[in-house]
Symmetry: C2
Subunit: 360 residues, 2 copies
């Protein structure tokens, strides 16, 4: 990551942390453990890509990023609540190097209610994590509505809230639901379109919304079809697809030590990715059988990872997906190119460049 | 229930069903089973108390109830999503005589994915039910925002959305969380205040919000401290406490055949109610031990129910709770009395009269 990008992302992160730490919304929540859980993911950080997209899109279209600060915090909280529920659904234990919300809450229960069984505490953790996400969804809407305090016109804020709760919520949650549903199907009933639709819902739509927020606040418009917003949206869309496909790719081909997730975790969870689907479509019967036998294993030592890599490469699937990523990356660049030059456009380019070329 | 009330509640119910059935929000949701699940509870009906409170409060303060129709639909959907998540948390199988959302979805999975295990299907049902509530929360906000289409001023609508996602959500979910948390504590660590706080969050706050919506739309005000709104709010608050305490009372003393829930279900789930707490505080050691031994039984035949009734009566707890209910009922009446007479005020009185004197 170049120094400018690193510095500016760091600034976004500290701005968001400052806002969230000083926001009074969570303070009235009880019991105390629910209150802490509501703050946990949003304060925990991560790359802060979504708030950066909001603020820099605002700046790229000539707006004052500070006016989009509440919108930036809102998308970060919105992202957080979907992660809290997603982690319950996927039964994940770790998020950004720390315990997931339901695990955090069940650990709390084990300390505070020592007479309760582990199963009771796990259930408590899961139940309170459901409620944590439920409040976070409302927090995001509330902080977005308070954009009027930053000088955003009320009519624009209403339209942004409406888009968030109408379009974004529906697409995002439908994407999550499809992701759950795909794991129930037999592989032959999963199509390329299904996988792209999942990515569109789970990843792309909130990124698109992020740039729409920033851009609409800059232009003081609720016409999301105006050319500059369209360029930004296509940039975010391409970025989203490229990012998610690269994430899936790095899950197999990335450096095992430095990539965030366990190697081949999608294979372990029998989660159909485009990479896997393309390989299954291209491999001969014997290869298909072998690749299938490499899913849902209890662990993935280096020789298994290596064999998966060979099958994905020899089938041409790896190349196909890399080409698709390259195409999306180019589209992202082209759409950004259509905007006037300024510091924020440069940051958006640096962000996509970093995200799409990262090895980790 | 008197005929006027019955007829008017029936009208509210068909109006709400008409609005929800024709609302386009759910149509873009996929997969299909999630789309049906999102519609399920709101269309299933129930007493429709909350939408009636919205519409009749609007009418009682001289407004046009039709203008509050979207707000009425919104509170009904809001109530629904909290029930969907509550049913997952409580592991309940039945809601309004039909399968709960997570059970409905797991049954669907068993039919559509016959190769999957029962455990996989149960997990699928739970996971998609989490997502169902997540979308319903957004649907409620979206339909409320569209109150502008009914002629409500945008600034008022924004304030109503803000209250819903700020005050109501936080109180309601905190109430649910406290309810979960109380079952983890030892009984001696549960206070009267804890139980009243749970009722305030889980039941009272959405009833208060319902009358605030209707009243504010009638008066075109965002000043919730104005006297007429305050009278309505105190009416709803007293109604809510009286209703919930009566519900707990009927859970033990109600006619076993006609009351909606299984007899003594709170005892079975070891859920501390005010009735139980007052009895435990008043009974001698032997009585306390006996009452405790009557919690968490696998079933409640009539002789156990009878014994619980005796202990609650002899301890004075039943009387104490009945007096409290009578006090709240009186407060509800008094506050209603402060409003000018009209048809809708009459309906509000009939509604509270029915709710607080019902035997089922």
């Amino acid at each position: 990551m170049d120094d400018l990008l690193k510095g500016e992302l760091g600034r976004v992160s500290s701005d968001i942390i400052y806002i969230l730490a000083n926001d009074l919304f969570p303070s009235a929540i009880y019991p105390e453990c629910l209150c802490s859980a509501v703050r946990s993911y949003p304060m925990r950080g991560g790359k802060r890509i979504r708030p950066a997209l909001v603020l820099w899109s605002c700046g790229a279209l000539g707006g004052i990023p500070e006016e989009a600060m509440n919108a930036a915090a809102a998308v970060e909280i919105y992202h957080s609540w979907t992660l809290v529920h997603d982690d319950i659904i996927d039964e994940d234990d770790v998020r950004r190097g720390l315990a997931t919300t339901h695990v955090e809450l069940s650990k709390h229960a084990r300390v505070v209610y020592p007479t309760k069984t582990d199963a009771d505490c796990a259930k408590f953790g899961r139940n309170l994590a459901i409620l944590t996400g439920d409040i976070q969804q409302a927090w995001a809407v509330d902080i977005l509505m308070r954009s009027t305090e930053k000088g955003c016109p009320p009519a624009l804020v209403m339209e942004l809230v409406r888009r968030l709760q109408n379009t974004v919520n529906r697409e995002l949650i439908s994407g999550e639901a499809l992701d759950v549903e795909l794991t129930m199907r037999e592989l032959k009933a999963v199509t390329r379109e299904d996988i792209l639709k999942t990515i569109s819902g789970k990843t792309v739509c909130l990124l698109k919304y992020s740039v729409q927020c920033g851009g609409a606040i800059a232009l003081r418009t609720t016409d999301f079809r105006c050319p500059e917003l369209q360029h930004l949206v296509r940039y975010a869309e391409s970025l989203g697809f490229a990012f998610q496909l690269r994430d899936d790719y790095l899950g197999v081909f990335g450096d095992v030590r430095s990539f965030g997730k366990a190697p081949c975790s999608d294979f372990q969870e029998s989660k159909p990715t485009l990479l896997y689907l393309e390989a299954m479509n291209a491999l001969p019967e014997s290869g298909r059988k072998e690749l299938l036998s490499l899913t849902a294993l209890p662990e993935y030592p280096m020789e298994k990872v290596q064999r998966i890599r060979e099958l994905l490469t020899s089938s041409g699937a790896a190349d196909k997906v890399l080409k698709l990523i390259a195409g999306y990356t180019e589209q992202a660049e082209e759409n950004l190119h259509l905007l006037s030059d300024n510091k924020y456009k440069k940051l958006l380019r640096a962000l996509s460049g970093y995200l799409l070329n990262r090895e980790v």
